[in-house]
Symmetry: C2
Subunit: 364 residues, 2 copies
């Protein structure tokens, strides 16, 4: 995967929707944006974290806000590049490599489009190893790196540059600006050196997304179901299989928040699963017991096609397989759980690793 093919982009959009745990927006939109950019501006080279020069300037680019809004107002090429330019002007630097801040549907491919437009390579890695709803929920923050300058743009042509005192202020200010911009924006922040990237980036996640996407979209000839193969790769757990019977979704404070209820099918017959989300799925309960808790990853897959369903795309009556994967070890530390664990999102649980919850569930 030295240069991204159109096929790669399609696969990344699907795999990133799995790793994006329901958030990050419609993968189809990310797919369209990245393909359009590559067709217009030329191919994007992929560099691994190992290949980075220590002094290389690495800059994440991402969409911020409610995915419900983002899909309604797809960013223009101009909007996509404005924050990069504003960032470079404010910091008086030139960027060498673009990276995804998270592996989520749109946000894994917005940086690919930005890279294509500016003739820059894309980094094979991100700062979450999944998607999270808030800007400070990045491995950079866990490692004590400051967001530095954050540059934000909208489709009107407004550009805002923030020099926050820390990651929480970056989130607070950027979120309010995003709300004022109508609910979605494009952001460049947490510009880092190659050396810092080697310390803090979760490597290989773009490749991983591609691999998962390839698995789920390619007609396979083996007897092993693609979802089962994926669970093997990600050391994941099948949490539930059922039909969506109630979906409550609201746009609140610049997020898409809500709950989804599933009635069990097959081996889960007569059980009920509830998913709680804030852009991303953050908590899964079966019959009132937690079965997967943030920062571990929860994904909803179409039962028939195996394709991931976003929190936006989930509809009444959808038949789904719900799976979960362990979060990267960086998230399972004290500061990781403090930053993105259940208490932060006001869920009244202690964090318990997915594997432990699975064992407890077997005992019940």
């Amino acid at each position: 995967m030295n240069v991204l093919t159109e096929q790669d982009i399609k696969h990344i959009s699907v795999g990133a929707a799995v790793l994006g745990t329901g958030g990050g927006g419609d993968p189809y939109i990310g797919n369209l944006m990245a393909l359009a950019a590559i067709r217009k501006y030329g191919p994007v080279r992929v560099v691994t974290v190992d290949e980075l020069d220590d002094n290389a300037r690495v800059l994440p680019a991402s969409g911020m806000g409610s995915p419900s809004v983002l899909v309604e107002k797809i960013p223009s090429f101009e909007q996509l590049s404005a924050p990069l330019k504003a960032y470079e002007q404010a910091t008086e630097t030139k960027t060498d490599v673009i990276m995804p801040i998270e592996i989520g549907g749109v946000n894994s491919l917005i940086p690919v489009a930005v890279a294509a437009m500016n003739g820059l390579p894309i980094l094979d890695g991100d700062a979450m190893g999944r998607a999270f709803p808030e800007a400070q929920m990045v491995t950079f923050h866990l490692d004590g790196l400051k967001p530095g300058v954050a540059a934000i743009g909208d489709e009107q042509g407004n550009a805002v540059t923030i020099r926050p005192v820390d990651g929480f202020w970056a989130e607070k200010l950027a979120r309010q600006v995003t709300i004022a911009m109508g609910g979605s924006s494009i952001v460049c922040d947490y510009g880092i050196s190659g050396k810092q990237a080697k310390q803090s980036v979760i490597p290989g996640t773009l490749s991983l997304a591609r691999k998962i996407g390839a698995l789920l979209t390619t007609q396979v000839t083996t007897d092993i179901h693609p979802i089962t193969q994926m669970l093997d790769i990600l050391e994941g757990v099948k949490l539930f299989k059922g039909k969506a019977t109630l979906i409550e979704r609201r746009i609140e404070g610049g997020f898409t928040k809500g709950e989804a209820t599933f009635e069990g099918m097959d081996e889960f017959n007569s059980q009920t699963c509830k998913l709680f989300f804030q852009n991303e799925h953050l908590l899964a309960e079966v019959d009132g017991h937690p079965v997967a808790i943030t920062p571990d990853l929860i994904a909803v897959l179409d039962e028939e096609t195996g394709m991931p369903i976003t929190t936006e795309g989930l509809k009444y009556g959808a038949r789904a397989v719900i799976v979960a994967f362990p979060a990267n070890e960086k998230w399972r530390t004290e500061i990781g759980i403090q930053t993105a664990g259940p208490k932060y999102f006001k869920y009244d649980y202690e964090y318990i690793p997915l594997e432990t919850l699975a064992k407890e569930r077997i005992k019940r």
Copy 2:
């Protein structure tokens, strides 16, 4: 008034509270900030609009947000200067002259403090000729000038730079940033040339504030009451004399909004006056009839001392003289009324000049 004395500053704070029509925060706070800055950093020279070089770079500095919040968290010297520095960095310019964006209690003296700290002169003029609650309510906007870069800072040390597409977006984005910053901020925006200042600035308003302040605070020996003298200077009207019997005040969307009711005294006995405000007084009604309508100026003065009372400082039982003055002719145009007239603030009146309303009232 070539160099501002401590006495001048005191007088400006009082006079600007009159011209500030109840908004702009506690004049005492503005007084304290400007005095502290001058004592620490040295005197501030005053330049008139006529004296400006056409190429001079003139930059307004002001406080944004709810005055109720501003008085609770007085800006530090560092906070006061951060937006100027952020503005200069973002625009790659050096500022020659600081100016008040409005003549309101705190906002007429915050720029004096900023000027003192940076060894710059202050312009004798502003962009409202009074105080208004929103950022696009400036003569610059009426003359088609764009806000350009807006730089915003808070007491935490956060700095935000906005490049808005127009004045309305500047207001919207800066207001949300100010709310995220806790409800008050310091802003530098609408940087203009000396030539543009000559076209758009309302000249002499700092001197006018000083003159009014001197009048109201100095023990006079003539038989003419200081308030009467002030009404002569400003071609104003005495609207009402009465006692505050009901004050409703709330902080909403970054503003202090509300209504105040007064029961009449002396020649206004058995009449009732209602004032409607959003940071500033915007509408005065007596017995249900409008007697002064924005953009004309409405001020509340302590009946005994003649000192102005802000919308923040107004208390139940206060005995007050309510006066009004005609707005600068720039505000009485079609675009002026569209920008800051009664309809904009959702008051169900057409704008009628103060003088016309006074004649109608005599007929009733």
